[in-house]
Symmetry: C2
């Protein structure tokens, strides 16, 4: 039987996440018939290697989506809002990595290990959750099924790559600036990020929380269960790639640390690295380029009934973005949910 | 009236905290009659400037404490255990920055803004709490008095200086190593600390928590109230100086974010920097060298009854160690609790 192949567009192909999307598409041997790399006019004509060939970057336009089966968007919410619906109108299924459509009622918000069933009702647009939400829910979903998540308190340690390539350059150049005593000047970040931490990711909202903190709350409710209570503090740390999260959970039912470890050892996308000794846990630099979400430091929390704490780390560009987007496209194919197939 | 002056010994005078102790003693114009700088034999003879003079570092020995009124120890728990009781036997009052005596029943564990009354019953030894505990309790103590702390969930973002000068050198050299693609080799830390975070401070305990996490719990109970429940996740971040903490609190009684801000604006040692806008919060690099504990991002947490979240930052070498130690010595003087006074 011949494998069906699809016309794929990558929107934002030159960005931090777009670059990772191309890597994941190659590594997963995604069944591509024709590949179209789209970006702003600034990147037009840039040549990008893919699977032994070289592709020229084209300028993103409405007609870019003619004949496209699936379009993977990671070019920011403004571009998604402008071009996403146009792509759907032209027959493409859009998997969008921006925040543009995540909370829209008719748009499934999907982590394939968690709620693939939500894809069934898609109307052309599927949203990829926020990186911090994805990374947290991959291990928390199976624990929710086992013991019921009641309340989550999460503090994040988010790498700069979540803010794009320029943010990575800023950390690099600012750090170098510290070494040559050249005063570092924040641009992409509101304060110095080199050798510092900033308790501020995305914009502030009226209630004093940031949009990133709000996203973790509303997206968790939409993906997993509206009854779950979540409060987050989102913090940027001087790490290039890899988000970490210190998570404290109150469950409905008792769940021991060892039971949680057993569940997570079997759970899709999860890798338990958890020995209570020096080095017996993961750190972000060790997870770069990896597809798994790593769970360490699983401990019972005696300060609350049915309490557990854990440390979760994953590559925010991979599982937190590019990988999850490609996995959604794969799940659409596997479930026969791509509208056009050649 | 002539100010009484005291013979002061600084033990561990060449270390990261010892160096800060000397700075604080100068800045506070501590009433010193004679100053003795003590360290291991390695540092013997090193000359250190202080108040316009230069002092030679002497080797730490039992007889170093003859005639000393107050000895400020910051040379690790092993040296405190060996020399602390000897210093007391020779008539000195010891303020110890190590963990050696903190939980001993007859040793007051003191944050001067929080529980100065505990000094009254001292028997020669007074312990300085762990840096993360001090920084947290300076703002939490007045809130406890107002609304009763019931449960605290804290995630820390601890700078490398908490692990001493060698740890600071390791971050510096390892970061430089990343720039020249010279593989960084962890020594002081169990894993790479440059551009990374490590969920591990101090040694692991049997229950899977680290000693640092345990310290925050037991010290909070000893200093403030044994009824308070606390669970911590302690994480090392690539910051040189300045500890940050994301704290979530459940109070006994209602306390709005604005009420908390009002209380903290008046609280000793506290500085509220809290505007819900870009830059309207503090980060560790901004707090280096400062005596205050900074509180930002005070928010109501609707996921629990009487919940509040906040972001706390302070210079771990100052308020977290050297400053608190000197403040204890000052409180002893002010309350007439130094045994010998010249």
């Amino acid at each position: 039987m011949k494998t069906k192949r699809y016309n794929v567009a990558v929107v934002g192909a030159t960005g931090a996440v777009g670059t990772e999307m191309l890597r994941v598409l190659q590594q997963h041997r995604f069944p591509i018939k024709r590949l179209r790399l789209l970006a702003s006019s600034r990147s037009k004509g840039r040549r990008i290697p893919f699977n032994g060939s070289t592709y020229a970057v084209e300028e993103l336009q409405n007609r870019s989506f003619e004949g496209i089966d699936v379009a993977l968007f990671s070019a920011g919410a403004v571009r998604s809002l402008e071009f996403g619906p146009e792509a759907v109108r032209r027959g493409a299924v859009v998997v969008d990595n921006s925040s543009a459509f995540r909370m829209a009622e008719d748009v499934p918000l999907v982590v394939p290990e968690v709620n693939p069933h939500a894809l069934k009702s898609h109307q052309g647009l599927i949203a990829n959750p926020n990186c911090s939400t994805i990374i947290m829910l991959v291990p928390l979903a199976p624990l929710h099924r086992a013991a019921g998540l009641k309340r989550i308190i999460v503090s994040t340690y988010q790498s700069v790559s979540g803010a794009g390539k320029e943010a990575m350059d800023e950390l690099w150049n600012q750090t170098r600036g510290v070494f040559v005593t050249d005063p570092p000047s924040p641009k992409k970040f509101p304060k110095q990020i080199a050798f510092n931490v900033i308790p501020h990711v995305d914009v502030f909202m009226e209630d004093g929380s940031t949009r990133e903190e709000w996203k973790m709350m509303v997206e968790t409710k939409k993906i997993l269960d509206p009854k779950i209570k979540l409060t987050a503090t989102c913090v940027r740390v001087p790490v290039f790639v890899g988000h970490s999260e210190a998570v404290n959970i109150e469950f409905e039912k008792p769940l021991s640390a060892e039971e949680a470890r057993e569940i997570l050892r079997e759970a899709p996308g999860c890798l338990v690295v958890d020995k209570p000794e020096s080095g017996g846990y993961v750190t972000p630099v060790e997870c770069v380029g990896d597809f798994a979400t790593f769970i360490s430091r699983i401990r019972e929390d005696a300060t609350v009934e049915n309490g557990l704490s854990m440390w979760i780390v994953s590559d925010n560009l991979r599982k937190g973005a590019a990988l999850n987007t490609v996995q959604i496209a794969e799940a659409l194919i596997n479930r026969g949910l791509l509208q056009k197939a050649a």
